[in-house]
């Protein structure tokens, strides 16, 4: 399968305003991000708040322009081609936000919200064709009969239904890739699984690739199935590879700490007291990110050599940014 999108050594930095007396400071939010997403695959991006996962999502959708590196869509540099090409790309890469209530215009009906992008991008469609298309996508996301929802306003729907509407809007332009940023964290627990299943279904039936951004390892594992997972920390990818390999046999100390911290819904397993292999609970602020290994301050296995620049190592097809990955104690979970 060809790559649909490639991030090549992408970096992103923002300027922090210093005020009257201090100089402005540049803060690197992302450093050396390499990420390839194959057509029809699902990639989960996990990390804690502030690790840059949402920024990656915004770069992929073209909402932010990276300050360094290259992003290629279907082999072509996204910022190299003309504006019309760029808008066509924007059509093929869609974004689903976390807060479904904020993402829909509260004074527009669902029909208005769904028809606007279709009418904008398919100017030659007749009203009947637009309606047809809307009925189709509504059926695809499981909101039937469509008439029951189309004339409603966002506040009249439940969180799960609104999230389905967002999915419907995202697939209305027949995209190749959908970036979903925490799509289930704000909806009720009993509905989460059905939204995740919907994403899997769209992936299988329509061949849409997904980038699933989350802080929740359990749902990331569920949705990625056989796909890849990318663990981020302080703006860098620390581990990237097949989801079962990464979660079953984590090779980076940070991934290990994350996995040990996730509670399991089974009291017999969960009550076994197991310390988290981590030195401090506080995340290092981005401004004083260590120069070498980003996890240096908190890593229980780090030594002096970890302070210098490190490269990716490849173990069992997993890309891991750790010098000591071979020396880590055996992983028991």
């Amino acid at each position: 399968m060809p790559d649909i999108i490639e991030l090549d050594n992408v970096g992103m930095s923002f300027e922090k305003k210093g005020g009257i007396f201090r100089q402005n400071k540049r803060i690197d939010v992302l450093r050396n991000i390499d990420l390839n997403i194959k057509e029809g695959s699902i990639v989960a991006v996990v990390g804690e708040s502030g690790c840059g996962k949402t920024t990656v999502g915004k770069i992929i959708t073209g909402l932010l322009k990276p300050t360094s590196g290259e992003i290629r869509f279907g082999g072509k540099n996204l910022y190299g081609f003309s504006l019309t090409d760029f808008s066509r790309t924007r059509e093929l890469v869609q974004f689903v936000q976390q807060d479904s209530y904020a993402a829909l215009n509260p004074v527009r009906t669902i029909y208005q919200s769904l028809s606007a992008p279709i009418r904008h991008h398919y100017k030659n469609y007749s009203v009947a064709e637009v309606d047809d298309k809307i009925n189709n996508i509504m059926a695809m996301v499981g909101l039937t009969p469509p008439e029951q929802f189309l004339s409603k306003f966002p506040h009249m729907l439940s969180g799960g239904q609104r999230q389905r509407i967002l999915m419907a809007r995202a697939i209305s332009l027949e995209p190749k890739l959908i970036v979903a940023d925490e799509p289930v964290s704000m909806i009720d627990v009993s509905l989460r699984l059905s939204i995740l299943n919907l994403m899997n279904e769209l992936n299988e039936k329509l061949g849409i690739s997904f980038v699933y951004i989350t802080h929740d390892l359990a749902t990331a594992r569920y949705i990625a199935r056989e796909g890849n997972i990318c663990v981020m920390y302080l703006g860098e990818i620390v581990e990237y590879g097949n989801v079962n390999e990464v979660i079953g046999f984590p090779k980076h100390p940070y991934t290990r700490a994350l996995i040990s911290a996730v509670p399991v819904p089974d009291p017999e397993v969960a009550k076994r007291e197991k310390p988290i292999p981590i030195k401090s609970m506080e995340i290092t602020p981005l401004e004083n990110r260590p120069e070498g290994c980003v996890f240096f301050d908190r890593c229980p296995y780090a030594d002096e050599k970890c302070k210098s620049r490190i490269d990716y190592a490849y173990v069992n097809g997993v890309k891991v940014k750790c010098r000591k990955t071979e020396e880590l104690p055996e992983w028991i979970n």
């Binding site: 009993s190 594992r221 994350l258 996730v262 399991v264 397993v269 969960a270």
Partner: protein, 339 residues
Amino acid sequence: MNIVEIRNIVIDYKLKKYSLRAVDNVDFDIAAGKITALVGESGSGKTTIASSLLNCISSPGQIVSGSVTFKDGEREIRVESLDENSLNAFRWEKISMVFQGAQSALNPVVTIFNQFYETMLVHENYKPKDSRVKITKEAAEKRVRYLLDFVNLDADRVMAAYPHELSGGMKQRVMIAFSLLLDPSLIILDEPTTALDVITQDFIFRLLRKINRETGVAMLLLTHDISVVAKYADYVGVMYGGRLMEYGAVEDVFRDKLHPYTRGLINSTPAINKDVSLLKPIGGEPPNLLDMPSGCKFHPRCPYCREECKTIEPETFSKENGHKIKCFLYSDGEDKCRI
């Protein structure tokens, strides 16, 4: 031994044209020295129940009937009938609360130490005149220092800090230290880790369990995350649509999964170690409080729904081990819905 006993409590939110029944006929005990969890989705009534323990249900909510009894040694305090003055003394001294979102619970323009000190001074004033002690700043400092050390914070730095100078996890730990300030017998924790990351979350819960084991303070944990319940709680109550659907020891509830809703919740929660193909979503939508289904509130989503479930609301049936289930499937004391 129970520290709080809630009996047949009914709480309504009275609006102009109609009233919402947020909690209906709930019987619920909180065991002394244990961690009891209430788990439920938004709108299931768990925060409303917790507020009734402090009699601080936000307006226009009110307790329509039922009782909340707090056991203070030999004394029994009926919380729902306390007057304003005794309530002020009761709150925080007997039952304290760690609110959802520590960020907004702390006063942004007062240093952490002064917030602690103020609370101590105010509560001294609620005591009868002859038993009041003058709290010196030094004594208060000693106490606050002890508490902040207890939650693994650098006391010197934190005491002089304003809330914005602390990270989210630190603020949450300050709130936990704050809740211990007056030596309460029960702490209510309302979603104590919602805005925090997984590693911080785990750290906070380990800390809470340590506090629970070392000081013997009882805790009521409100959460929507059953994984957290499995890991940290001793007892669990499952709420749905304002009803307590199931209650029992965590091990029993998770092993037997008797109520169809509990079973649905457990079977639909992705876990990091479980086979993903076994997961099954619960169909349908959570109930709308304005338009509650008749009969059992879970019946429109229940795979075991029968004719009687649609019209009659089931009573609560108890098993010998204290496990309680509100479902007709157990009306003759037998487990008939095993898969």
